[in-house]
C-alpha cells in the first residue's frame, strides 16, 4: 500500500476546493456549460443519459479496506447503492447529483482517493498489473514507478490540455496483465546487463475507431530518465497531435501518420534537450517513494496446509479454487480473484454491502488490501492458503464466489445503451444473457479460458477488439446490430480480432456465440488447446463456415 503524506493530501484537498468553486460558478451561471464541461471532465464527471456519471481513480488498482469502505459510502450516500468497476482501474457511479459532487470528493479525499484526470484530454489514471508486488517472477514492484508517474502526471502544467486523452500502463511481469500494448504509452520494466532497472517503452496503442497495437519506440530507457522520456513523448504529441478531428487526435494516429521511425527521432531530439534536466530522478527519490509502500509481514507457512487438503474434497470449493486462486510469490500465500460476474448480473458491478463486506474480509484475510484489475474483477492479494476455505465460504454468502474467473462468463462489457449517451447498442443485456447461456460450470470448464469483450459503440470501452471473442454494437437502420470478431488478445501477444461475418441482431447474438463455441469444441486438436490458439492455428474461415452455414 502507498501511504499519502501531508504533501499528497494537501494537493488533493486543494483540488477539491478548486472543484467546489467550479461547481459553484456553474450553478450560479458564471460558467457556461461549455466551459464547465472541460473542467468537470478533468475531474471525472460525465453527463450521461440519465444523470451525471462520476469516475474515481484507483491508481494502479490498489485499495485499502478503508478506501473500499469509503467507496461503499459514496455508493450509498450519493448514488443508488452500487458502483461499477471499469477496465481502467476506476470505479464509476452512475447517479450522482452535481451539487453533491464536491462533498463526495471531500469524503474521498479523507482516505487519499481522488478523481483527478479520470476523464478529459489529459493524462489519465496510471494503471498497472493488479498482481503487482505479489506475482511470482516479477522484476520489481511496478507500482513504485506507477506512483512516480501518477504524481508527475497529476495537474501537469504543460500537458493538461492534450489533443486527446492519454493513458499509461505499466507491467513488470512476462505475462502482461496490464494490457500495455493497447495504451498510448506502455511501459515494461526490464533490467539491463548491469542489473539496472529501466523500461522498454511502447507507444501508440489504442482501440476505438482505429485500433492499433503499440510499437516499441525504445528498448531501454533507464529508470532515472523515465520522466524526461515520457515528457519528451508528450511534448511532441502536444504540439503535433491532430486537433482538427477528434477521431484522429490520439497519439496512435500521429505515430501512424509519421511512422514510428520519424516519430521516435522527434522524441529522441526532444529528449536530448531535457534528459539531464531536473526531470532526472535519483535513487533517493525512488527510495523515498518505495519507503511509503508498505508490505505485509508474511508468516512462514506451509505450502499445503491441512485446511486446504481437507477442503479439496468439496467439489464446489475446488471449482472455485481452480480458477480464482493463483500462486503468490511467498510460499503459503495465494492471490484470490473475486469475480464480479455473477450469472445474470452486469459485469463489474458491486453493491455497497458487498464492498463493505469485502473490506472486512480483506482486513481479516489479506492484510487490509484489495486490488482492482482491468478485467473488472477484484482481487485479494495476500491470502494465507489455510484461510482459503473460510474465505470462500464468506465470499459465497456475499454472492462473490462465482467460479468463472477467466472462463467464458467472465465477460468484460461497457455500460452501453443502458447508461451511455454515446452508445449505439446495449452491452450489459448481452453480457447477462451470455452468462445465463454458459452458467453450467462443467460446460464452461470444458471450454476453458476464453475472454468475451463487449462494447456498445466504436469507442471500444469494452475492448472488443482484443477479446478472444469481441462483440461490437453498431446501429444499422435504427436497429441494434452486433459485429463479432475472434482472435483478439490484450496480453503480451496482443492482437486485434477479425470479423467472422455479417452483423447479427440483438436476439441472435447469444446463439451465434454458442455456435462459435461449438465450432471451437469441434475444431480444437485436444482439450488443452485454448480457443485463442485454435483460432490462431486455423484462422477465421472454419469458424465462419460453421457459424454462418445455417444462417
Amino acid at each position: 500500500m502507498y501511504a499519502y503524506d501531508e504533501i499528497d493530501r494537501t494537493l488533493v484537498n486543494e483540488r477539491v476546493s478548486e472543484f467546489r468553486d467550479q461547481v459553484k460558478r456553474r450553478l450560479s451561471g458564471e460558467l457556461t456549460e461549455d466551459e464547465f464541461k472541460i473542467l468537470r471532465l478533468q475531474n471525472g464527471v460525465y453527463l450521461q443519459l440519465h444523470a451525471y456519471m462520476f469516475r474515481v481513480a484507483i491508481p494502479y488498482g490498489t485499495l485499502s479496506s478503508d478506501q473500499l469502505r469509503r467507496l461503499a459510502h459514496i455508493a450509498r450516500r450519493y448514488d443508488r447503492g452500487y458502483g461499477h468497476f471499469t477496465t481502467r482501474q476506476n470505479i464509476q457511479f452512475n447517479w450522482i447529483k452535481l451539487a453533491e459532487l464536491p462533498d463526495a470528493l471531500a469524503d474521498l479525499a479523507e482516505v487519499g482517493i481522488h478523481a483527478m484526470q479520470t476523464s478529459g484530454n489529459n493524462m489519465r489514471n496510471v494503471t498497472s498489473d493488479q498482481w503487482a508486488g505479489v506475482a511470482p517472477g516479477e522484476i520489481e514492484d511496478p507500482r513504485i514507478w506507477s506512483e512516480l508517474l501518477r504524481q508527475h502526471t497529476t495537474l501537469h502544467p504543460e500537458f493538461s490540455f492534450l489533443p486527446r486523452k492519454f493513458k499509461i500502463a505499466i507491467t513488470a511481469s512476462d505475462h502482461d496483465r496490464a494490457a500495455i500494448k493497447i495504451h498510448d504509452i506502455g511501459l515494461r520494466l526490464v533490467k539491463n546487463e548491469k542489473g539496472e532497472t529501466g523500461f522498454e517503452v511502447l507507444v501508440g496503442g489504442g482501440l476505438g475507431r482505429t485500433p492499433f497495437i503499440a510499437k516499441t519506440i525504445k528498448h531501454f530507457v533507464h529508470g532515472r530518465d523515465i520522466l524526461s522520456y515520457v515528457e519528451a513523448i508528450l511534448r511532441v504529441y502536444n504540439q503535433y497531435g491532430r486537433r482538427d478531428n477528434i477521431y484522429k487526435a490520439r497519439i496512435k494516429i500521429l505515430v501512424h501518420e509519421l511512422g514510428i521511425e520519424k516519430f521516435s527521432r522527434e522524441v529522441e531530439d526532444e529528449w536530448q534537450h531535457i534528459r539531464g534536466s531536473s526531470l532526472q530522478i535519483d535513487d533517493e527519490v525512488i527510495e523515498d517513494i518505495r519507503s511509503r509502500f508498505s508490505y505485509p509481514a508474511y508468516e512462514k507457512l506451509p505450502h499445503m496446509p491441512d485446511e486446504l487438503r481437507q477442503a479439496a474434497a468439496d467439489p464446489a470449493f475446488e471449482a472455485w479454487r481452480k480458477n480464482s486462486v493463483a500462486s503468490h510469490k511467498v510460499q503459503g500465500y495465494s492471490i484470490v480473484t473475486i469475480s464480479l460476474k455473477p450469472v445474470g448480473g452486469p459485469p463489474g458491478d458491486a453493491t455497497a454491502e458487498q464492498m463493505d463486506a469485502l473490506a472486512d474480509l480483506a482486513e481479516k484475510y489479506s492484510f487490509g488490501e484489495i486490488r482492482v484489475g482491468h478485467e473488472q474483477n477484484l482481487a485479494l492479494p495476500h491470502v494465507a492458503k489455510r484461510d482459503l476455505p473460510a474465505l470462500w465460504r464468506a465470499l459465497d454468502k456475499l454472492g462473490l464466489a462465482t467460479p468463472n474467473v477467466n472462463l467464458i462468463s467472465d465477460i468484460i462489457a461497457c455500460p452501453g445503451l443502458d447508461y451511455c449517451s454515446l452508445a449505439n447498442a446495449r452491452s450489459i443485456p448481452i453480457a447477462q444473457e451470455l452468462t445465463r447461456r454458459f452458467a453450467n460450470h462443467e460446460l464452461a470448464n470444458l471450454i476453458g479460458r476464453l475472454h468475451i469483450n463487449i462494447s456498445g459503440c466504436i469507442n471500444a470501452c469494452g475492448h472488443h477488439h482484443v477479446g478472444h471473442i469481441g462483440i461490437l454494437g453498431v446501429e444499422k437502420n435504427g436497429e441494434e446490430v452486433y459485429q463479432i470478431t475472434i482472435g483478439g488478445r490484450a496480453d503480451e501477444n496482443a492482437a486485434l480480432g477479425n470479423l467472422i461475418g455479417p452483423g447479427v441482431k440483438f436476439e441472435e447474438v447469444a446463439d451465434v456465440i454458442e455456435d462459435v463455441v461449438e465450432a471451437y469444441l469441434a475444431l480444437r486438436e485436444r482439450p488443452e488447446e485454448l480457443f485463442i490458439d485454435t483460432v490462431k492455428r486455423l484462422g477465421v474461415e472454419p469458424f465462419k463456415e460453421r457459424v454462418y452455414a445455417t444462417r
Partner: protein, 171 residues
C-alpha cells in the same frame, strides 16, 4: 478585456496593429506573426516596444533569433482546451531563455492561471472581469506541485527530500 500583469489588473500599453494598418511612429504595438516575419527590420527599427502574436501551430524556433529584441510574445489559446501554447511557453522560457513579457491570449479563464504561471506566462488577457479580479486569490489555490518547470517552484519530490534531510540533521 482586462489585462492582468504582475499579479494585478493593469493598463495595456500595447495596441494591436492590423496587418494592413500603417506603422505608427511610436508607442507599443503587437503585430501578427505574418507581419513580423515580412517586416522584421522596419518593425524593430522604430521607437516604441514591439510584441508578436505567435499562433500555436507555428514553430516557435522561427522566433528565436529575434527574442532578445522583443518586448512581448503573445501566445494563443483559441479555445481553452487547446494546450499547444503551454509547450511553446515552456520552450521560450526554459530552452530559449526568453525574459520579456509572455502573454496568454484567447480563451483565458481563471481555471488556467496556475498552469499558465507554471509554464512561464506573466501576463494574461482574461476573458471575464470576475476572473481577472480573482487572479490573486486563484493563484494561491495550490501550494503543492509535482512537476519541475522553469518557474522554479519547488516540487513535491524535492520538498520531501528536504524534509527528510532536515529530520536527519535533527536526530
Amino acid at each position: 478585456m482586462p489585462l492582468v500583469k504582475g499579479g494585478k489588473i493593469a493598463d495595456d500599453t500595447f495596441t494591436r496593429l492590423a496587418d494592413d494598418a500603417p506603422l505608427p511612429a511610436s508607442g507599443d504595438i503587437l503585430v501578427s506573426a505574418d507581419r513580423f516575419v515580412k517586416d522584421t527590420d522596419a518593425l524593430l527599427a522604430r521607437a516604441g516596444r514591439l510584441g508578436v502574436i505567435w499562433p500555436n501551430n507555428r514553430d516557435i524556433e522561427e522566433l528565436v533569433p529575434h527574442l532578445a529584441r522583443l518586448a512581448a510574445v503573445a501566445l494563443v489559446f483559441p479555445t481553452f482546451r487547446d494546450g499547444r501554447a503551454y509547450s511553446q511557453a515552456r520552450l521560450l522560457r526554459e530552452r530559449y531563455a526568453y525574459r520579456g513579457e509572455l502573454r496568454a491570449t484567447g480563451q483565458v479563464l481563471r481555471d488556467q492561471f496556475v498552469f499558465m504561471l507554471r509554464a512561464g506566462f506573466d501576463s494574461f488577457e482574461v476573458r471575464k472581469q470576475a476572473d481577472a479580479e480573482a487572479f490573486a486569490q486563484t493563484v494561491k489555490r495550490y501550494s503543492v506541485f509535482y512537476q519541475p518547470t522553469g518557474d522554479g517552484r519547488i516540487t513535491a519530490l524535492h520538498r520531501r527530500m528536504q524534509l527528510r534531510h532536515s529530520e536527519g540533521v535533527g536526530t
